[in-house]
């Protein structure tokens, strides 16, 4: 339990980083970042066996791919806070000559990033490739990948969803950020995903539903359970219910903060709701 408390303290700082990164850049995607904070903190600080000195090939490590690259603010924060690059660099997010591009990329050599993402729908395929490489190399570690739920409207996702069970890619854990929101509004209005658990089940996935994707203990437990389900002939998917904008009252549960940064006053308000636990990055 004490460890959960520590993870929550990290999550609070990561949320401050997200608000401050996007405010400084006057752009970016805070909503989905805030919603996935528990998941990302749990992955990097509790679940994954990973090496912050960073090797591109990830041999002998658990590795993570972010398919919905627009939630880069949360990823950059957890990468910096877990030692991949200096925390100070978070201030350069979306600025000219920065390694912290609007959407994550290998192009500027930022440690922790293994493929560019942002154009949606591609990350799951890449993760499958990395998982197959692990099998070829006799590497028993796990590949994690996160996608948005709106992202599931991309056709390539379903090509990948069909492929993974057929080829028994059972060292893969996909998590879907099931917040029900996308840029143009609620997913059910824009293009309904229908019965998502049934879809994945019918494709042959081991399906888990995580009802409390913003409760740290639930997230940690779900990820641990998912790991126990690997190696059994099926890929695993966690359908993770989250609230976009979680942790800041005026940003929570709406698509309005999908791709919009807070102004000065809103930033102050947001930060007043989030404890500074590890020290803010300097500006």
């Amino acid at each position: 339990m004490s460890n959960i408390q520590e993870l929550k303290r990290i999550a609070s700082q990561v949320r401050r980083d997200i608000i401050r990164e996007t405010h400084l850049a006057a752009s970016g995607h805070p909503g989905g970042s805030l919603g996935c904070t528990e998941f990302m903190v749990a992955l990097y600080f509790e679940i994954m066996d990973h090496d912050p000195s960073f090797n591109m090939d990830g041999k002998g490590e658990d590795i993570f791919f972010l398919s919905n690259g627009h939630i880069s603010p949360v990823w950059y924060s957890v990468l910096a806070r877990s030692g991949y690059f200096p925390v100070e660099e978070l201030a350069s997010f979306r600025k000219i000559n920065s390694r912290l591009q609007g959407h994550p990329t290998t192009h500027e050599g930022l440690p922790g990033i293994r493929v560019a993402s942002g154009s949606l729908g591609q990350g799951m395929s890449v993760a499958i490739g990395a998982a197959l490489a692990k099998k070829l190399d006799g590497d028993d570690k796990t590949v994690f990948v996160l996608t948005g739920d709106g992202e599931l409207q991309e056709g390539q996702v379903w090509e990948a969803a069909l492929f993974a069970p057929h080829h028994k890619v059972d060292n893969l854990i996909l998590t879907v950020d099931w917040n029900g929101q996308q840029i143009d509004g609620p997913t059910r209005d824009v293009l309904s995903l229908g019965d998502l658990p049934a879809k994945f089940e019918s494709f042959g996935w081991e399906v888990m539903i995580l009802e409390e994707g913003n409760d740290m203990e639930s997230v940690v437990n779900a990820l641990k359970e998912a790991k126990t389900k690997t190696g059994q002939g099926k890929p695993v998917v966690i359908l993770m219910k989250t609230e976009m904008g979680y942790g800041v009252d005026f940003m929570q549960g709406t698509h309005k903060w999908h791709g919009k940064a807070t102004n000065d006053e809103q930033t102050e308000n947001a930060l007043s709701q989030l404890e500074e636990t590890l020290g803010d990055f300097p500006v």
Partner: protein, 318 residues
């Protein structure tokens, strides 16, 4: 020299790819082949029989295949992602762009049935825009070998180059005239025949068309320099400029739209360094149709007579 450009056998460039990837697979255990339901067409069955664990069948889902290839490359594998040229480029352009080119992944995109000479299947499959599309992707190497032997050599050679490669080849049986023991050097144009009146820069199947044309023109007293541009990007600019400084005019030959392909690549070099008269032998901004390979080459301006006529026009403009 021109007399020595002969062949004893016609073989398809795609068979050269199949032979190359099989040989490479035996030498290099990091090579993984992927295919989107076109194993027979890509001639990779021998690789699959020998190395079943290093073959990935993706089914008819090329976007997924390119992503998987990028993931394999991330982990240090050398993926050869194979399908028809149309499905290897236009259909998956954003995957090539983001997951492979921008991410600088060591993926070999291997594309058969390029151009008009795939024949009867018609324009849906006869891609004529792929060289242009792949040339525009930063970091991509673009290769279009001319015959079976060269395709085999190129297939093996690209494994030694770290970075994304588009390897383009075709369906029909075609004169196999380059040496079986050739060493393929990426980016190094090959002088096939020395000449003084015109420089013919050709790629892929059109290299043989250029040779036939040059033989015919020699009988009329016209001396053609023929250079095989198997690597369109990076282009061997030195070879282009050296030849042009001698001949003073150019004909480019490619089984591709006149926009964006080899001709444009050469024209860019000429405009900047040595503007000389130039004629394109290329498809004139249109789609193809069903028919036999040579019927199509003739109808769409890629016949031997079209090359000859282009040479004369170029020389007249000097």
């Amino acid at each position: 020299m021109l007399d020595q450009l002969t062949y004893t056998e016609k073989k398809a460039t795609r068979d050269g790819f199949g032979a190359g990837v099989f040989e490479l697979g035996n030498q290099n255990d990091q090579v993984v082949a992927l295919c989107a339901d076109l194993v027979g067409s890509l001639k990779i069955q021998k690789f699959i029989d020998t190395h079943p664990e290093r073959f990935i069948q993706t089914g008819i889902s090329e976007a997924n295949m390119m992503g998987i290839a990028a993931g394999l490359a991330t982990a240090g594998k050398i993926p050869y992602a194979t399908t028809f040229a149309n499905f290897a480029t236009g259909r998956v352009y954003d995957q090539l762009r983001q997951s492979i080119a921008y991410s600088h992944k060591n993926v070999k995109v291997c594309a058969s049935h390029a151009g008009l000479t795939l024949g009867e299947d018609g324009a849906t499959h006869q891609i004529l825009e792929d060289i242009g599309m792949t040339r525009m992707l930063p970091g991509f190497t673009v290769i279009n070998p001319c015959d079976y032997n060269q395709t085999k050599a190129a297939t093996i050679a690209i494994a030694e180059h770290y970075g994304p490669v588009y390897l383009r080849f075709g369906r029909p049986s075609w004169p196999n005239f380059t040496p079986a023991d050739q060493k393929f050097e990426i980016g190094k144009a090959l002088l096939l025949n020395e000449g003084t009146d015109v420089s013919i820069f050709a790629t892929g199947h059109m290299v043989w068309q250029a040779i036939e044309a040059a033989k015919g023109l020699a009988a009329e007293g016209i001396s053609c320099e023929i250079i095989n541009i198997h690597t369109i990007k990076p282009l061997d600019e030195e070879a282009v400029l050296d030849s042009v400084s001698k001949t003073g005019c150019v004909v480019s030959c490619e089984e591709h739209n006149r926009y964006g392909g080899l001709g444009d690549a050469i024209a860019q070099v000429l405009v900047k360094n040595n503007p000389v008269p130039m004629e394109y032998v290329a498809v004139n901004d249109t789609f193809g149709e069903s028919g036999k390979p040579f019927e199509l080459l003739g109808k769409y301006g890629l016949g031997v007579d079209d090359v000859k006529a282009a040479v004369k026009r170029a020389i007249d403009r000097k």
